[in-house]
Symmetry: C2
Subunit: 411 residues, 2 copies
């Protein structure tokens, strides 16, 4: 089974936005065993859109459109699909009633142009859009399928990952396709691949690794007549991976590392404070990106200048003396973590100090040298790193490493 994506929108051609919807769908299709060899992008022009769809239909079984489903005169995807399939648009009474309901509930003034979103090809079935006004459409005609999806990301992703995924799974396998993401941290991609090498050739479920900054994610995907059967194919694979990778597996699906760490702390009834130097607040910002962090995270000190490390945090001034180890050292990281823990009355203190670059490095301490410490009730844990990356990359990896070390200390 072969698919093709046609992204619609002049704003895509002009580069005003990146086509992250097509990227998302491109990641989904191989999980469903659907091949995908071409993609097209066209502006808001009926003739060119219809031509692109005809070309796509000539070489693919399933054609996706992304965008162009809104109420304005520029939104021409419905017309384009009807033209390419040799169909016509009809007004759907249920869709019309639904639009009126949405406008009433949101107390928006009704405008007649909204009715464009109640039009659909006769061969289509609407896909409900709980996050917007324009429904998606599944059009089946002459053995071909055209699936129209809205462009706004908050509408596109739930529709693609929900009803469209389920529809495609039935189409591609006659059953369902289920996938589960195992997230690992603190272990390199090469080591992960080496430990699961023999599993990579498994066909149902399949398993595929994806490298992220400081993390490796493993996607396990299975197909079966029912969700239960598909899950039961995944379960033993997950167990096998966990047995091989041990504590490196920190979570499932869309749970980020910072969420896992906050949960660990919450479960222990513990609190957390941070002391940051080269990351300038990035660790605190990442932890507080999680809603509800406030019951665990009390705050922190950004001690960018040595005077702040000494005067506000209370790090020993001898560290900064000519003969001392300096601000970028294991001793300094350990003291920063201990002092912030004491000062904030937190159960755990975490610190980062390093050289983000691009200048400021030396032979002994090149750019990318970073020390991280965790002050815990049972003592101080620390690690050091030499990252080879841009300033931004060093800072990102530093924050990631601090979370990995904290997770280990909490385990």
């Amino acid at each position: 089974m072969k698919a093709e994506i046609v992204s619609v929108g002049t704003e895509l051609l002009l580069g005003q936005i990146a086509d992250t919807d097509a990227q998302h769908l491109g990641q989904l299709l191989p999980q469903l065993g659907i091949a995908h060899t071409n993609r097209q992008t066209v502006g808001d022009n009926l003739q060119r859109l219809a031509d692109a769809l005809r070309l796509a239909l000539s070489r693919s079984d399933i054609v996706f459109t992304i965008g162009g489903l809104g109420p304005t005169q520029d939104d021409l995807t419905r017309e384009g699909i009807a033209a390419a399939l040799g169909d016509v648009l009809v007004k759907d009474d249920d869709l019309e009633a639904n639009l009126h309901r949405i406008f009433r509930e949101r107390r928006f003034a009704w405008v007649e142009s909204q009715l464009r979103q109640a039009m659909r090809p006769t061969c289509s079935v609407p896909i409900a859009n709980p996050n917007g006004t324009a429904p998606g459409l599944i059009c089946e005609k002459d053995g071909k399928v055209v699936i129209a999806l809205p462009g706004p990301r908050g509408e596109f992703v739930p529709m693609a990952d929900g009803p469209v995924r389920d529809y495609l799974a039935r189409l591609a396998t006659g059953g369902v396709i289920v996938s589960r993401l195992l997230r690992t941290c603190g272990i390199g991609e090469g080591i992960v691949e080496d430990k699961i090498k023999d599993l990579l050739s498994s066909e149902n479920p399949t398993i595929a690794p994806y490298a992220k900054i400081g993390e490796v994610h493993l996607r396990i995907t299975s197909h079966a007549p029912s969700r239960e059967e598909a899950e039961s194919l995944i379960d033993p694979m997950e167990a096998e991976v966990r047995a091989r990778l041990g504590a490196a597996v920190y979570g499932l699906d869309d749970v980020a590392l910072e969420e896992v760490v906050l949960r660990q702390l919450r479960a222990l009834g513990s609190t957390l404070a941070v002391a940051e130097s080269c990351t300038g607040g990035g660790l605190g910002a990442r932890i507080t990106s999680v809603a509800g962090a406030s019951d665990v995270f009390v705050g922190g000190i950004v001690s960018y200048a040595n005077e702040v490390k000494e005067g506000i945090l209370g790090v020993d001034s001898a560290l900064f003396a000519e003969s001392g180890p300096g601000a970028v050292s294991d001793e300094c990281a350990r003291q920063m973590a201990e002092r912030v823990r004491d000062k904030f009355g937190a159960t755990f203190g975490v610190s980062i100090t390093g050289i983000a670059g691009p200048s400021g490095g030396s032979e002994q301490k090149p750019v990318g040298t970073v020390y991280v410490a965790v002050a815990a009730p049972d003592g101080v844990h620390s690690e050091h790193y030499r990252f080879r990356a841009s300033r931004e990359g060093v800072r990102e990896r530093s924050v990631q490493s601090a979370l990995v070390l904290l997770r280990a200390a909490l385990a």
Copy 2:
């Protein structure tokens, strides 16, 4: 003149990377007055690539390929272009010598497959690639042009913005095209457009607005026989925009707002400390994303919990009493800015306190309510906002607003 982009790479179809190169080129073409109505993406397959190029050549004057120029068997763009143009590949001795030189200098082991990168269609001229091994190619045949660009971003962007831009400018106008970006902050997109409405129809130079989070950028683009003449067309337009928008214009081209603020502080011989609540360290992280921030930025306190605002920062406890204004208030923001300034001995203190959501809002203080303050030697400046955005969006806008307020206080 009409162009079309053909992006090459199975990793693009699979969504492993976003097609930011095509996005970049999509932004460049309209600056050069070149229309662009279709884009195609194909995997690493010779037949499909040649088909895509033939289709593109049938409807466009200039066709760009992005990617597929490397040394591996998967890199098929050279072969695809030759096939589509009815040309053949020949080995270019200069390119071969250059490859050997690069390998010698980098002390990499030579492998014969690298020689693929010395092959080019007979109708082509190579474009030097100072950032990689694969040259770009400009192929001119039968009144059509195919321009092949390497995919890695660090090679693509300098080549597109440098020699390719110059080539296209000569092709499109017989001269050069120059553009300048005016960056504004603290003024809404609607107001900017209203103030320069009559300028938007100017043809040489053109001017086009781009809205960002808390900023509006204006790109002024001109064409003329020489760079000097093109610049002299831009100068009066820039002066006119500055006269109308006044202090809202904060910088040119790729200078970020945080860089401008750091320069202002440096020029005054001043230092800066920050106190953050809902942004959790995001303001400090953004400021320290600029290399060399350490001569101005001393550090800060992340006072996420009220106990930290009171105990560490020294904010008056009466604020948090039943009858007090609470942590999300103008008074609290002002005290946070003053206390962090005093405590860190900095010239300026900046604070942010607010409700990032998605929960924690009330009728009086809905999610998105944010207070920002700047404590300066001449007193405290403050502002409050009601952002309608996601948690991430509220936090980003809060950081941006703090920088805008600080810039105004420093002016």
